[in-house]
Amino acid sequence: MALKAKQINETTKWQDLTEGLQIYEPATSKLFETGEWRTQTPEFYEDKCKQCLLCVPYCPDSCIPVVEGQRRAFDLMHCKGCGICEKACPFGAIKMREGK
């Protein structure tokens, strides 16, 4: 029985990998921490945010979750720190800082 993507990690033996590293589940990219590539991190100033949601469609990695019409904190597991959201925000509610 093939392992689930969630069960495969850096301790998995070669005998337990799927054929050709095939993946038999959808949306497993969510499990993959790409946020570690980041060298700059966005910071969210909630008091300045007008909830215009302009930052949401600009984010190339869909790292700004929206719940009930309100944007929430950044998904830093997948944010690569590109800084586009900072430029998109008209109210200065997002500032990039150096480092992870």
């Binding site: 033996k13 050709g20 038999y24």
Partner: protein
């Protein structure tokens, strides 16, 4: 005059009746005994493809394999197969389309030679690492340059480390038999690797020889239906193929892939045994021709083996204990088995129809010598490059090699272990 015409007419009628009678007898024989025929190696491949009736064939023409897609196109036009033929713009596209259709769940075949195979290079590795059991009939021709279109093994030998299975043929009968066994080996759940079925350009691909063909029904039953466990167009399947693998995963992935090549050894022998039960024609990793009691042996691949067998027969008549080991399966490499089969010989010449510019001999020579060393084989061994770019190899050339082996058996290897045969110098 009228009388004369009547006489001729009645003679013609008698001859016609005879012809009808003989054709009825031969038709009956064909039904009962399998079909004896004569055809070229490319025709034999096309005949096997007709019997397999693969789902998809993307291919691009290149000498000397061009006839294969051409014959299959004719068969499609005539309604003899329902294979989907994809005319592509290059061999890179042919192999990419072959990968795509195999991944989608379709049994796929393609054909190529020489530079066409070289243009597929990048995709060959991906097909193997993605574990796609597609089949490619390779009509071996040298890689350019110098520009040449004739028989040589540099094309498929160059791809020897791409993760494909490789099976070679001496003649049209063998390429037909090998192709019919290809999918059974490649699609086996312990293998799932792409496979090259190779034959020598022009020498077997275009030369017409006698051949024994099998009937369609037993062959279709033997090949069976392609029923992969996972494929992209499977209803309800959610899967990704060929994902990016970071360094913590690549080594494990490659080791797992290497295991399937090791598993293929047993599968190749099992399939050959099953094939022999149907056809009576037996195959293994290699053929041992008068090798059991041989003191001097040649090891070779492909059509040259026919010539070598003639030389061996001649030499045997004169009391020389000559023998041949004809390599059929090159990937996986049956090194241990070959070393064992050669364990009793005094001297062996390993023949490469390929120059690998390594300064260490051809691919077969290098790999077999390494295997002989590992298995503590004591025979004196030399490596000979021959027949490049279609250069003929004659019975007398082969006899000269056996003469060299006799000297080497007594005196050891004095000159270099790696030489050319029939070179002007």
């Amino acid at each position: 005059m009228k009388k004369h015409v009547r006489l001729v007419q009645s003679k013609c009628e008698r001859v016609n009746k005879e012809i009808l009678r003989y054709s009825a007898i031969s038709a009956e024989m064909e039904i009962n005994m399998g079909v004896k025929n004569r055809m070229s190696g490319n025709e034999a491949v096309a005949h096997a493809i007709r019997q397999i009736n693969p789902d998809v064939m993307p291919a691009f023409p290149i000498t000397p394999s061009t006839e294969i897609p051409q014959f299959v196109s004719n068969m499609i036009a005539n309604g003899e197969v329902d294979t989907e033929f994809i005319p592509v713009e290059s061999e890179h596209s042919a192999m990419s389309a072959a990968m795509g259709s195999e991944a989608a769940g379709a049994r796929t075949i393609t054909a190529t030679s020489s530079c066409g195979l070289a243009l597929m290079w990048e995709v060959l590795y991906v097909a193997a690492s993605s574990r796609l059991p597609l089949t490619m009939t390779v009509v071996n021709r040298g890689l350019t340059g110098p520009l040449n279109i004739n028989a040589e093994h540099s094309d498929s030998m160059g791809a020897r480390d791409s993760g494909w299975l490789q099976i070679y043929a001496e003649n049209n009968q063998e390429v037909y038999d090998n192709l019919l066994q290809a999918y059974r080996i490649a699609e086996h759940k312990d293998v799932l690797l792409p496979i090259m079925i190779c034959q020598d350009g022009f020498i077997t691909s275009h030369a017409v020889e006698n051949i024994e063909l099998e009937e369609d029904e037993p062959i279709k039953a033997f090949v069976g239906k392609y029923e992969p466990e996972h494929y992209l167009l499977k209803a309800g399947e959610t899967m990704a193929m060929g994902p990016y693998a970071t360094s913590p995963y690549c080594m494990e992935a490659k080791r797992a892939q290497a295991q399937t090549m090791m598993n293929a050894k047993k599968v190749i022998l099992d399939v050959a045994e099953e094939y022999a039960a149907i056809t009576g024609r037996k195959y293994g990793f290699f053929e041992e021709y008068r090798l059991k009691d041989a003191a001097f042996a040649l090891v070779a691949i492909g059509s040259a083996c026919g010539t070598i067998k003639d030389a061996v027969d001649d030499l045997r008549k004169h009391g020389v204990k000559a023998g041949l080991l004809k390599v059929r399966v090159f990937r996986p490499f049956p090194g241990e088995e070959m070393a064992r089969a050669l364990s009793h010989v005094k001297a062996v010449a390993i023949m490469d129809r390929c120059e690998s510019y390594s300064c260490n001999g051809g691919p077969l020579g290098s790999e077999l010598m390494a295997a002989m060393y590992r298995n503590k084989n004591k025979a004196e061994a030399i490596n000979i490059v021959y027949g490049l770019s279609g250069r003929d190899i004659t019975v007398n050339d082969v006899k000269d090699v056996f003469e060299r082996l006799k000297t080497i058996a007594q005196e050891g290897v004095k000159d270099t272990q790696y030489t050319y045969l029939g070179l002007r110098e």
